[in-house]
């Protein structure tokens, strides 16, 4: 039969996975920002449709990663509150 300590451990293990996911998102966001800067310089002056699409997609990826991080923080808070109330 499960104990409170066991449930708390399981929640901690899940939060650890989320933290590692957040670390990956942070690293991805940094790389993405570098890529955007690099492309902005290299492709300055291009009116090619494919270049516009690439810029827009990178901007969308940045936005999605920000929203992803915000959602993970809210999830961790909820999980921690539940664990504390056990």
């Amino acid at each position: 039969m499960a104990s409170v300590a066991e449930v708390k451990s399981a929640i901690d293990a899940a939060i650890q996975q989320v933290s590692e996911g957040q670390a990956a998102v942070h690293a991805a966001s940094e790389k993405l920002a570098e890529a955007q800067q690099s492309l902005a310089v290299a492709l300055d002056g291009s009116g090619h449709d494919a270049v516009s699409t690439a810029h827009a997609s990178l901007q969308q990826a940045t936005q999605e990663l920000e929203e992803c991080l915000a959602a993970t923080m809210a999830a961790v808070e909820q999980a921690q509150q539940y664990s504390a109330a056990l």
């Binding site: 293990a13 989320v18 996911g21 990956a24 998102v25 991080l69 993970t72 999830a75 909820q78």
Partner: protein, 294 residues
């Protein structure tokens, strides 16, 4: 190098360097966390962060998709300016990202304080014992793997030698977070190995052929595994949506996906006749075998 070549090389390098792998790793970590919380919260009305995590995963998946569109657009641009050679996609390195330690500082791990380990250890090793068909949980061992990639290679060695006792020992003897982490590490590795076996990106129509090759071996090694877990795992590899039925019952045990992921990786390596050490992220890209196909 001409000016156009120089421009092409820069665009190509930036495209190859887009963090598709990191985002894929984040998706799998969030999926693993969500599965664990789903299992913890069954029968509870408290959301425990599960819907928020599902939302986070969706955003990360959208980000990954946007990055792929950006890569395709950049490669199309290179082709359109006459650099057709630079317009082909490079090898998918997501599996290497998954198996590599994060850059920068090493992740903090809880230090042993002399106190009894949390009871989750029993929960994990008991489930491993059920899956591997052993009567009793494996004892915790000092020589057990401390990192997911090492555990993945040890499990692959057990699969290669068809040694169910070794699987029981290696998987059951680790700290639960190390074991549970396999469900996040394994998917990119599985996708890549299945792609190597099939000699193309795994697709929906490959599911029956892949199942035919993998299923009997997994059944021998994990006699206690619920059949639907393997089905879900293979569907994920082939990017086939997992059908949810009303009579699905309780959510799967989170240890199941961790264990099945590592064992299927070992089976695929065996089918490819590759050594477990080829799962080293620094290992060179294997030379495709002309005879290999599912």
């Amino acid at each position: 190098m001409s000016l156009v070549q120089e421009l092409g090389a820069q665009v190509r390098a930036t495209s190859d360097d887009l963090p598709v792998g990191q985002v894929a790793v984040a998706v799998e970590r969030l999926r693993a966390a969500g599965e664990l919380l789903m299992w913890v919260r069954q029968e509870s009305v408290d959301p425990l962060g599960v819907p928020r995590l599902a939302g986070a995963m969706e955003h990360a998946e959208q980000a990954a998709q946007a990055l792929r569109v950006a890569q395709d657009s950049l490669l199309a641009y290179l082709t359109s300016i006459g650099l057709a050679h630079d317009g082909a996609p490079g090898p998918d390195g997501t599996w290497r990202t998954a198996l590599r330690e994060p850059e920068g500082e090493r992740r903090e791990r809880p230090e042993p304080s002399g106190a009894e380990p949390p009871p989750l250890g029993r929960w994990w090793s008991e489930r491993v014992a059920v899956l591997t068909g052993h009567g009793s949980p494996a004892a915790r061992s000092d020589s057990a793997a401390k990192e997911g990639p090492d555990l993945l290679r040890r499990v692959a060695a057990g699969v290669r030698s068809e040694d169910r006792d070794k699987l029981h020992r290696e998987l059951g003897g680790v700290e639960p977070p190390v074991g549970l982490g396999l469900s996040a590490l394994a998917p990119p590795v599985l996708h890549r190995l299945a792609g190597d076996l099939l000699r193309h990106q795994p697709r929906a129509e490959d599911l029956p052929a892949l199942a035919k090759q993998v299923e009997p071996r997994v059944r021998d090694l994990l006699p206690g595994l619920p059949p639907r877990i393997l089905d879900i795992q293979l569907r994920r590899i082939c990017r086939v949506p997992v059908e949810r039925k009303d009579d699905d019952g309780p959510p799967p045990h989170p240890a199941d996906f961790a264990v099945i992921g590592s064992v299927v990786a070992g089976v695929l390596l065996r089918l490819l006749d590759r050594e477990p050490d080829s799962l080293d992220p620094a290992a060179p890209e294997p030379v495709p075998d002309a005879e290999t196909h599912a």
